[in-house]
């Protein structure tokens, strides 16, 4: 293979990385999976099923956006799932137990998440505790607090406006899907095309170089963790509205699924390379896999195995590409 004259495939790959900020492989895997499922199950190809997949991906998708920002900046947020649970309980508490207007409940969800994220950011940048430890601690703190606030029981009976956020279908499209897609579009634009996004990835690439270039590293990290928490709060709102209950056990292990989506989508676990569109493809790969296997009546235990296998495979392909490129 002549390295002077890149082939057609190489040119398409480069274009997709430069223009769309995604690796073409993940898109091909998604399409191949979709085709396979369509061939195997007569129920897969339908509009209602596609909406199902998007709906099932929406909560985890919003968390995966948060994970992408944090990991892209060279950090890690293990508290996503717990903060999501805490935020949902906070919102339900405000709406049901306090009986305040729904708008305040929505704000409470996102604010609770943002505060947890802000604390994470402060501890990471000021107390010099590693992000893994800080967010692992927050995982326990937020979960415990959610259980304390709710006294260990789900808070039922949310007002109709909040339930609409989870179960409404304007123009036939589920509300969580609309919120998820809009969030993803904005997040993609921010990460790929703004100075904030470039700084985020620069930070993940090399903190020293970023500092030398004049980026306010600590300040930037705090913003990213706060943003991550706020997005977890939004995910908590979606969850709570979907199941019509502020559930203190909501989101257990969701952080790992969110990180999996980001990694399958091509985010470098050690930072410096990340794209929201890629993460969305990663999340959809998992969504299609779960949906297809459920339609095929495969036990959910095998589904977990399949996702584990895809994760390892995705990183394997990624590493293979990176090594090949570095050889050129």
């Amino acid at each position: 293979m002549a390295s002077e004259q890149p082939g057609f495939w190489a040119r398409v790959q480069r274009a997709s990385v430069e223009r769309l900020h995604i690796r073409l492989e993940s898109l091909v895997v998604l399409l191949a999976l979709g085709t396979a499922m369509a061939l195997l199950s007569p129920y897969f190809l339908s509009l209602s099923n596609f909406l199902n997949i998007l709906l099932a991906t929406s909560t985890i998708g919003v968390l995966a956006i948060a994970a992408t920002f944090v990991i892209g900046s060279g950090g890690l947020d293990l508290s996503l799932g717990s903060v999501m649970g805490l935020a949902g309980v906070a919102g339900a508490f405000v709406a049901v137990n306090l009986g305040w207007p729904s708008v305040l409940a929505v704000i409470a969800c996102i604010l609770a998440g943002a505060i947890a994220g802000y604390i994470n950011g402060q501890l990471v940048t000021r107390a010099f505790v590693p992000a893994f430890i800080v967010t692992l601690g927050m995982l326990g703190l937020a979960r415990g607090l959610a259980l304390v606030i709710s006294q260990g029981r789900a808070i039922y009976g949310l007002p109709p406006e909040i339930v609409y956020i989870g179960q409404g279908r304007p123009f036939g499209i589920p509300m969580p899907v609309i919120i998820f897609v809009l969030t993803a579009i904005v997040a993609h634009a921010v990460l790929a095309y703004t100075r904030f996004g470039r700084h985020t990835l620069a930070l993940g690439d090399s903190e020293g170089a970023a500092r030398a270039a004049g980026i306010r590293v600590e300040h930037h990290r705090r913003i990213i963790y706060t943003l991550s928490g706020a997005l977890a709060g939004l995910a908590g709102l979606l969850f709570t509205a979907r199941v019509n209950a502020g559930d203190p056990t909501a989101g257990i292990n969701y952080e790992l699924t969110a990180i999996t989506a980001a990694i399958i989508g091509g985010t470098n676990l050690f930072g410096g390379r990340a794209s929201i569109l890629g993460t969305m493809i990663g999340a959809l790969i998992m969504g299609v896999l779960q949906n297809g296997l459920t339609l095929l009546a495969v036990q959910s235990y095998y589904q977990q195995m399949a996702i584990g296998a895809v994760l390892i495979l995705a990183v394997f392909i990624d590493q293979y590409q990176v090594r090949k490129e570095s050889r050129v």
């Binding site: 190489a10 191949a32 999976l33 709906l55 029981r153 779960q290 009546a297 036990q299």
Partner: protein, 329 residues
């Protein structure tokens, strides 16, 4: 072109993995298929229920496909599973919802599609269903009030209807409907059969063995002449057994649990726990399928089906003659 070939190979590999997983469960469209959605299978209770569904379907000659969430707390994943299962267009959905609200959006869609809905193990709340306009074909499960009442009947049969003395009731998690029903069933029946046996305390043990043990110890201190303890599940009953024997009052206090789990059966055989009102999840699963078939055939099915419970004592287990004993797993 070598790199292109290599890449294609890798995609083939990726596809291969997926196909390998898919092949495990390839199932073609079946007309008249039932969808069965469990909470989880990672626990003997639900395992026994799944076995009952399987045997019931085999005997009735119906096809079904089954899914379960990864844990009994995975509310949202269970809702996602439910939505996806509807795409297979089953004729009936037999669901054991993780809580009384998480599956509601899916059940509404099912109802709109004309799919019959069954509430397996009484997880749905009729008041919530009415408010949301969801009509369930039938609820099926153990009758928890009857289970509590059976516990009282056993106690009175052992001590006699003129017996006198203080009785302790240890409830489940406060606010949990199952525990409340069992405790209420016991209390009401006891009052009716043996008014001399007085419930001196009815406290929530939160399904926790250790907490139940502490409650038993404290109550024994306040009422050294305690004659009986009724616990809303076996785990708590086994905790109470430890406290009672530690206080040296084993022969004096009759202890009754509910569930009929393996540990309880063992303790009954050893002569420590006196009785457990056993639920029969196997029978619940089996009867659910049988009744769906009836309902689909246009026969009348009761709106709420109570599957009997069985009082397990050392005599019943040792004799081994009770026909329902085969359903105790």
């Amino acid at each position: 072109m070598t790199s292109l070939t290599l890449k294609i190979n890798r995609f083939t590999l990726a596809l291969g993995v997926v196909l390998a997983f898919s092949v495990i469960g390839i199932a073609k469209a079946e007309d008249g298929e039932y969808g069965v959605l469990m909470k989880t299978l990672a626990n003997p209770f639900w395992g026994a229920m799944a076995q009952g569904v399987a045997d019931g379907a085999k005997e009735a000659g119906v096809k079904y496909f089954q899914q379960a969430a990864e844990s009994d707390q995975a509310a949202e994943p269970q809702l996602n599973l439910c939505n996806t299962m509807l795409e297979r267009k089953p004729v009936a959905m037999i669901t054991a919802a993780i809580n009384s609200t998480n599956l509601l959006p899916c059940l509404k869609s099912a109802q709109e599609a004309g799919i019959k809905i069954v509430d397996l193990d009484n997880n749905l709340d009729q008041a919530v269903l009415d408010k949301e306009g969801v009509k369930v074909t039938f609820h099926i499960g153990s009758d928890n009030i009857a289970a509590g009442a059976q516990g009282a009947e056993y106690l009175v049969s052992k001590l006699g209807k003129d017996a006198k003395g203080p009785v302790l009731v240890i409830e489940g998690l406060s606010g949990n409907i199952t525990g409340e029903k069992r405790a209420k069933g016991f209390a009401d029946k006891l009052k009716e059969l043996a008014p001399g046996l007085q419930i001196v305390a009815s406290l929530p043990g939160d399904w926790d063995r250790g907490k139940a043990a502490s409650i038993a110890t404290d109550t024994l201190t306040a009422h050294p002449d305690l004659v009986a303890i009724f616990c809303a599940n076996d785990g708590m009953a086994l905790g109470a057994v430890e406290s009672v024997y530690a206080a040296g009052k084993g022969p004096q206090v009759t202890i009754i649990g509910v569930d009929g789990n393996v540990d309880a059966v063992k303790s009954i055989k050893e002569g420590r726990l006196n009785a457990s009102v056993a639920q029969l999840p196997y029978l619940v699963g089996k009867q659910a399928v049988e009744n769906v078939k009836k309902a689909l055939a246009g026969e009348k099915v009761e709106e709420s089906i109570a599957v009997p419970t069985l009082v397990l004592t050392k005599d019943v287990i040792d004799a081994g003659k009770e026909p329902m004993l085969q359903y105790v797993k």
